[in-house]
Symmetry: C2
Subunit: 347 residues, 2 copies
């Protein structure tokens, strides 16, 4: 198994280390061999070679069967959004270059962690939804600029029917393997791109007669995600709405430190925890590695079709939760284990 | 007091009736006279004259010192976002024509209703925030269209420095009268318009040295609103982000049926409940009128500077909650009163 390893910034390297340990252990147990190839990204890459997603990293990713990713972002860039080179540019460049068109973001609950949710138990119990966020189009990649005097700015959101079809197809197919409900999230009462989304999805409905499709405005979904997250199955949406809604969804489960994600690509696919680079914890060996470990599980399953291997990882993660072999964010009044100790235990 | 009355669709007319009763009672008590002038809007206006915001209604609003608004929207338009004439167009046309540039959306809690919140008590207690949403710019009003074959669509988001300054000024001033904290919500790591927002607000900081200003990305705010809503004071943001975040914020208090709002205008200002037209309840005399009554209180205070009158309305609303003179959504196992009965009692 040929895997590119992009540890990135902040806690990225620490949590990636644990996912590597666990992946190697699973590979050994099931008789696979993994060839890991590391590449630089983010602030780490800016420091080393002046660019957040260097060509050398891109080549590593293109040559791999899957990419395991930590996190990027560094506080020294945060209050300077106009800095010439920023870690996030690397992220966007990587998404575009690898054709990572669909960000797959599950939100589910762990029974033992449900009381960590800001929501009441009865609101969150049973939640098991997936948001598919379009990741290489929309206002993230449209034309933007300023007037000559700098006093007027614009951004352009563009979508083509093919872009919508590609994402929606994944959504319909995913819904077929699950609860058979698909919600198309848009703002079709205002935006032309949203009307294109809605028409395109409407035209696809007949090919998936078993899937119940609903169309909801993004503002309504922002509400319902807090009120009744367990009423959703699969949601599909454009890039910017997806950015906002996936983050909103991530905090409702109470298990943000455990949520994995995948980004399906044209060339290769990428697996990453959703928690970000969490710079305050970097280097302290306290970050929760479970989301990254579960991202590796997604990788085994999606990228290599290795379902048993993925399941083995999920089983041991559940066991670590049940036995309290967890980092300080989950330990409560019990003993907190170090990041590396949790990784060793899982492996 | 010259007030334009736009009842609109769904439960609009019923809840507006109660606000009129209460306003008239307050006016009588404090020695004012109110001249109400009604205008058609929304689906009701489409049915009557073919347009959701007819010129005659605009003239009524322009001649008034304030506009009291119910709600617009009708289900028969909902699944047809491409219909030629839609109620929402009236809303957008009205906002633009009246120059309603700032939507003021408070989220606060009523101690007696706190357990209705989907959030746990300790998360929501003490929440008292205001989102200022820019309402006449951005992607709502930019150029949009399709390619000739219909397969590519675009929308444009535009902002000028003056538009940002006008909204931010209101935000700084509001913060000065409250907790002196201002959060500028943007996506400055991606969007040029957001960078203009951030720069403009940054340049204004020196004029309000007492206000602590923070800059947060919209995705982070979508999370923190669910996690720690009580950490915010005043938030300012652009039109589309504001649409999503104000609706998200509205459900966290557990008192959506009570949340009023104001839209500050160049020509006149408008006051409305945030709950929408709620067509399922229309005509049944069961809708909760309190948000509209509290919007009238905002109107007395903001549009006419009548603080005591506003306070009198708030006091009687609190009393209705304490005495259980409430509609079915708040009654629990106790007797539910009709919309009109609540209005009579308050008056
Ligand atoms: C860092 C930023 C550009 C990025 C995005 O908005 O896509 C992040 O928020 C994410 O969701 O991965
Ligand atoms: C109906 C729609 C156009 C409107 C908006 O998006 O502004 C509504 O959602 C609102 O927030 O008032």
């Amino acid at each position: 198994l040929n895997i590119a390893l992009l540890a990135g910034d902040g806690i990225g390297p620490e949590v990636i280390d644990q996912a590597v340990k666990v992946s190697n252990a699973v590979a050994a147990k099931f008789g696979h061999e993994i060839a890991w190839t590391s590449g630089l990204t983010g602030a780490a890459a800016i420091d080393a070679v002046g660019e957040p997603y260097p060509d050398s990293t891109h080549e590593i990713c293109m040559a791999a069967d899957a990419v395991l990713f930590g996190a990027i972002g560094h506080p020294r860039f945060d209050n300077d959004p106009t800095a010439k080179v920023r870690p996030e540019q690397g992220l966007l460049k990587m998404r575009k270059a690898l054709g990572l068109y669909a960000n797959v973001r599950p939100t589910f609950t762990f029974p033992s962690l449900i009381d960590n949710s800001p929501l009441k138990r009865e609101r969150i119990e049973g939640t098991d939804l997936i948001i598919l966020r379009e990741l290489t189009g929309g206002i993230y990649f449209g034309a933007r600029g300023r007037s000559e005097d700098g006093n007027t700015a614009y951004d352009t959101c563009t979508y083509t029917k093919d872009e919508v079809t590609r994402l929606a197809k994944l959504g319909f197919e995913l819904a077929m393997t699950r609860g058979k409900k698909l919600c198309c999230v848009d703002k079709a009462n205002v935006l032309e791109t949203s009307r294109l989304w809605r028409q395109t999805v409407q035209a696809m409905e007949k090919d998936y007669p078993e899937v119940t499709v609903s169309y909801e405005f993004v503002d309504a979904v922002a509400m319902r995600l807090v009120q009744w997250p367990n009423s959703y199955d699969v949601l599909i949406t454009e890039n910017l709405f997806g950015d906002i809604l996936t983050d909103e969804a991530s905090v409702i489960s109470g298990s943000m430190g455990l949520m994995p994600s995948a980004s399906k690509g044209v060339h290769t696919s990428l697996y990453e925890p959703i928690h970000g680079s969490y710079p305050q914890a970097a280097g302290k060996d306290i970050a929760n590695p479970l989301a990254t470990v579960l991202s590796a599980a997604m990788m085994f399953e999606d990228a290599f079709g290795l379902t048993e291997e993925a399941e083995a990882i999920r089983v041991v993660v559940n066991k670590s939760l049940a036995d309290g072999i967890v980092t300080e964010d989950l330990a409560g009044k019990n003993k907190a284990y170090k990041t590396s100790e949790v990784g060793d235990w899982l492996a």
